[in-house]
Structures are given as structure tokens and as C-alpha cells.
């Protein structure tokens, strides 16, 4: 019996050992022969330069509310509004480009949607949308809507209808925009000055500064989010406001409109409100591992009486009113000061 089992097991055991050895050796061989991931090589020398030697400029007549899209890989992009019904694009030591009309107004025949596209590096090659160079300047009608994206660029926009900007790095500075502004930046600051209309600003490691801005209609809101930067809002008169930061401070200076709904939260940062002494609104403050200080008269309506560090307080500032301000910080201080 024993010999029968031995006869049965021995081949199995030897087969197992053999297969294990084969499998291990195969794995070892794979490890030895595995190549590191290939790194793309830079383009070969001698390719005809697509760059303008000095400057390059194009202009076309467009609708007053034309939609313009462009991508600028690096350098500086400037967009200015002017009263002419014309789009002018200028590049200083930059990429040669074309103005591609994507759509025309059926009645006037003027361009209503234009894309600024770089000329291909080699004739017949696929078009790379993004311009490269030192400076790219656009003159656009004041009602124009500009959609700009880029890698590492400083963007300055002034006096246009609407702007949508996305960058990986560099500052974004927008002034005098009449119909709304959205921006997202990786590194660098976002400055929004005298903006009307809805605003949505997203920053990763930079600061956000919003000054003298407000809605154009009842539904226009302001949303500002940053991870490690601070958010400063001064004289913003939105009725709906949402500001959040992970480890940055958030400060608000100015009055709070009637029936406004403000939601400000930070994980590890302070929240500071500087308000006119006659302000009136309902405050709902949640602060864990932090403090709440108010220079304003605060009539406490409810306050949690739980033990533990996280506190919630609801109360009326001044005479109260229809506006509600929700402040939340995990480990920071909340302060309300008189202006």
C-alpha cells in the first residue's frame, strides 16, 4: 500500500518541483530581459522652423460677440477688448498661426466662432493647436468670449465679454469682464478684478484674489476653490458665494447683500470676515479645534453643548436678516471684525 502511494506521489512531487523551477527561471528571465519604458526622442534637427523670425500678425472682421478659442503653450498671453468688430492676433517671436473660422453668422457673414491654430511644423503634418513663443496678444471686440488654455503661461485679460482660462502654471489676471469668468490654474495666482457675472475659480497651489465683482443676474454665483493657497474677497456683492480651501486662509472684506447665501470652509486655515458695522445676517459657524471671535454683536440662538472640541453655533449678527453665512473650519480660527 505504502509503495503504491509512494509511486503515486513521487511523480506528482517531482512534476511539481520541476514546474516550479521552470516557472521561477522563466520569471527571472523576464526580469532580465525587461526593457525600461521608452522615452520619446526630441525631434530631429533640420526640421523647417515654424516660428516667425520677428513678429507675425493676422486680423479678420468678426461678430461683436465672437467666440475665440486658442491654446498658448508657454510665454505670455494678453487679451484686450476694443470697440472694433475685428479680431487681431499678434505674436512676438512666436509661432506662425492661422485664424480658422469655425462658424459664421448667416445674416452678416461675419465670423462668430474663430479658432487660432498654429501652422504645422512640417507641411502636411497634423495640426498642433497650441502656439509657442514669447508673447501672444489678441485684440478682440468688447463683447467677445475667449476660451484660452495653456501650459505655463501668464494670462492677462482686460475688457471683454466672457473668459474661460485653464493653465497648468502661471498667473491669470482678469479685469473688467462683463459676462462671467471661469479659470483654473495649477501653480500661480488668479486675480479677478471688476468682474460681472458668474465666476468659478479653481487653483491648486496659488492664491485667489477677487476684488469689486458682482453678479449681473439673480442666478450668478461665485465659487472659489484652492488647495494650499489663500482666498481674498473684497467688495464682492454676490448673493451666492462658495469659497473653500484646504490649508489656506480665507478672508472676506465688504458687505453681505440681503438674502445672500455664503458658504465658506477651510480644513486648516483661518476664516476672517471684515464687515460694515451695520451688517445683519444669520451666522452658522462650525469650528473644530479652533476658536470663534466676533467684534460684531452676536445673538446666539443655538450652540451645541456636546463635550468635545468641535463646536457649532447659530446666531444673528446685528439685527439678523435674510442672509445666511455658513463658516466651517476644522482647525483654524474664525473671526468677525468691524470694518
Amino acid at each position: 500500500m505504502r509503495s503504491a502511494i509512494a509511486q503515486l506521489l513521487l511523480p506528482l512531487l517531482s512534476a511539481f518541483v520541476a514546474s516550479a523551477i521552470i516557472s521561477i527561471s522563466a520569471e527571472a528571465q523576464t526580469r532580465v530581459t525587461a526593457e525600461p519604458p521608452s522615452i520619446p526622442l526630441p525631434p530631429a534637427a533640420g526640421v523647417p522652423s515654424p516660428f516667425a523670425q520677428d513678429t507675425f500678425e493676422l486680423a479678420i472682421p468678426v461678430e461683436r460677440n465672437v467666440n475665440i478659442s486658442l491654446c498658448v503653450k508657454d510665454g505670455r498671453a494678453k487679451v484686450n477688448g476694443w470697440s472694433r468688430g475685428e479680431l487681431r492676433v499678434f505674436a512676438d517671436r512666436g509661432h506662425k498661426f492661422d485664424l480658422k473660422v469655425m462658424q459664421r453668422n448667416a445674416e452678416t457673414g461675419l465670423a462668430s466662432w474663430v479658432m487660432v491654430v498654429a501652422r504645422p511644423k512640417i507641411e502636411g503634418a497634423a495640426v498642433n493647436e497650441c502656439l509657442e513663443g514669447d508673447d501672444v496678444e489678441l485684440e478682440v471686440p468688447t463683447g467677445a468670449s475667449v476660451n484660452l488654455k495653456g501650459s505655463d503661461i501668464t494670462v492677462q485679460i482686460d475688457g471683454i465679454g466672457k473668459a474661460h482660462v485653464r493653465t497648468l502654471g502661471g498667473d491669470i489676471i482678469a479685469r473688467n469682464i462683463s459676462g462671467g469668468f471661469t479659470a483654473s490654474a495649477g501653480q500661480g495666482d488668479i486675480v479677478a478684478d471688476r468682474i460681472s457675472g458668474p465666476m468659478n475659480l479653481l487653483n491648486t497651489t496659488g492664491n485667489i484674489i477677487i476684488v469689486s465683482s458682482g453678479p449681473t443676474g439673480p442666478g450668478d454665483d461665485l465659487k472659489a476653490t484652492t488647495t494650499s493657497g489663500s482666498i481674498t474677497m473684497k467688495d464682492t456683492i454676490y448673493r451666492q458665494l462658495e469659497a473653500s480651501s484646504i490649508s489656506g486662509a480665507i478672508s472676506f472684506v465688504g458687505g453681505i447683500p440681503e438674502n445672500a447665501s455664503y458658504n465658506i470652509n477651510t480644513n486648516r486655515g483661518s476664516i476672517g470676515l471684515s464687515l460694515p458695522s451695520a451688517s445683519g445676517f444669520r451666522l452658522a459657524a462650525t469650528y473644530g479645534f479652533g476658536t470663534l471671535n466676533s467684534e460684531m454683536p452676536l445673538n446666539v440662538l443655538t450652540e451645541n453643548i456636546e463635550s468635545g472640541p468641535i463646536r457649532k453655533l447659530v446666531g444673528d449678527i446685528g439685527p439678523g436678516g435674510g442672509a445666511t453665512v455658513r463658516l466651517s473650519t476644522n482647525s483654524g480660527r474664525i473671526s468677525l471684525k468691524k470694518m
Binding site: D171, Q187, V191, T204, R268, S270, G272, S328
Partner: protein, 286 residues
Amino acid sequence: MKRDCLEIGVIQGFIDGELPEDVLVSVSDHLSACDDCLQMVSIAEAETLAVFSAMERELGPMIPTQRLWSRINDQIESERRGFFGRLGHIFSTVFMSPSMAVAAAMILAVTAAAVLFLQSPNSVEVVKQAPAVGGSSTDRNSERIASEPEPDTRYQDGSVRKVIMASSRRPASAPAFEKAVFRSGNAVAAVKNEAFVNGEEVYLKTISAMRPTVDNNKDGVLSTAERIAYERELAVIEDSISRTKKELKRNPKSESARQVLLASYQNKIDLLNSVVQREELIASLR
């Protein structure tokens, strides 16, 4: 230029987020109107970035490169595959032999019978004790719970949630009941998982859906400085979540702690989303 320009120390403090609140407001006010100072901020930021880039090699070992990550992952995968492959090979070899297969089947049958035998009294205990908790049947309990949506703690498994919620309504006099519940069937899994705060599960699902994409791609889309900032912010959020969870464990009915916890989850989602958006932008720039 609006007025006298800011000192470089103030600008550096602004970039590093180290300014006091009142100074921050005045600096922001100044920057909004002074192009020269904004230019100086840009230059200082570029210098900071250049320093980080120059230190990339030194900082490199702290943050593994994409290639290193993929090699580590490949190695882990191959080790795992190797182990399970060998295990599978052993099993296939063993079960190829009829006598061994019969012996293994017998062992499995005996084990299964033993498990069933050991589990059955506990299940009976649960069924018997559940009505005593609310003074009604289990079904009636579940109906009542559906019409009273205010539990402080929730569990992944539905059946357990009902029983636990029922137990929360009973005076704190039957710890044995919970032990019995936890020993039976799926409840074991629920014990391993932590209790969910009301609304937490949705956030966790969203985060777990986003996390693999972000973890796989963050090395490719974030520079060293950004990667450091990302990890730092993530650590801030994780710390905040763990502190709040501790507080909730101590005081499960704290509504304020719940709010802070959910806000922290939202911040985490925003942080992960910033990486996803960045990845999308990089892809569109290519």
C-alpha cells in the same frame, strides 16, 4: 503702479501663505491694482519653482518616479502572480490524483459541516432576541426604521444595519445581543468595516472611484513641487478626517463633527479632482 511697491519679504510671505490675515487683505488689495508687484510675485514664484526644479534630484528619492513606481508595481504583481500561480499549480497537481481528490473533498465536507454546526446556534440566538429588542418582530422593526430616518450610525450590510439600529433604540443592557449578531454570517464583515456616518458612504464611494486613476497618473501630471503640495494637502485632510472620526467615535451624535467630516471628504474629492482635471488639460495640450 498704485503706490509704493511691496517688499520682497512680504511678497515671499504672500507666496508661502505666511502673512497674517490683515496684512494678507492689504497685500491682496495692493496686488489687484499694481501690475509691477504682480510681476514681482510672478518672478518670485518662478524662482521658487526653479529652486524646486533644481532640487528635484535631491527630492527625487522622497517621491518615486513613474518608472520606479511601475517597476515596483510590476514586481509586486509578478510576486503575487508567482505565488498564486504556484498555489494553483499545487492544487491542480493534487486534484489530478483521484485518491487525493477524494481525501480533500472529505476534509472540505467535514470542515463545512463543522462550520454550519458552530454557526447555527448563534443565528437562532439572533432571531430569537431581535423581537425582544423593539418588542416586535424583525420585519416590523425594519418598517419602523424606514419611517424614522434618523440613525447616527450605519453599516454597509443592510440586515446588520436594521439590527444595530434596533439595538440603538433599546436601553444599553444587552451587549451580548450585539456580540451574537456580529458572530453570524455577513455581520462579521460589518464589524471589520467601520460604522458609516450618515452620508459618508457616498463620499467614500466617490473617493474610491477616483483614487485609482489619481494614484496611477499623479506622477505623470504633477511636478515635484506640486507633488509635494499634493501629498501635504492630502495629509492635512487625512489628519482632519481621522481626528473628526475619533471625535465621532466618542460622540456619535455630534452633528457638528459630522458636518466637519463631510466637508473634509468634499475637500478630498476636490483635491483628487484637481489632479484629474490637470491630467485632462495635459492630454488636451498634447
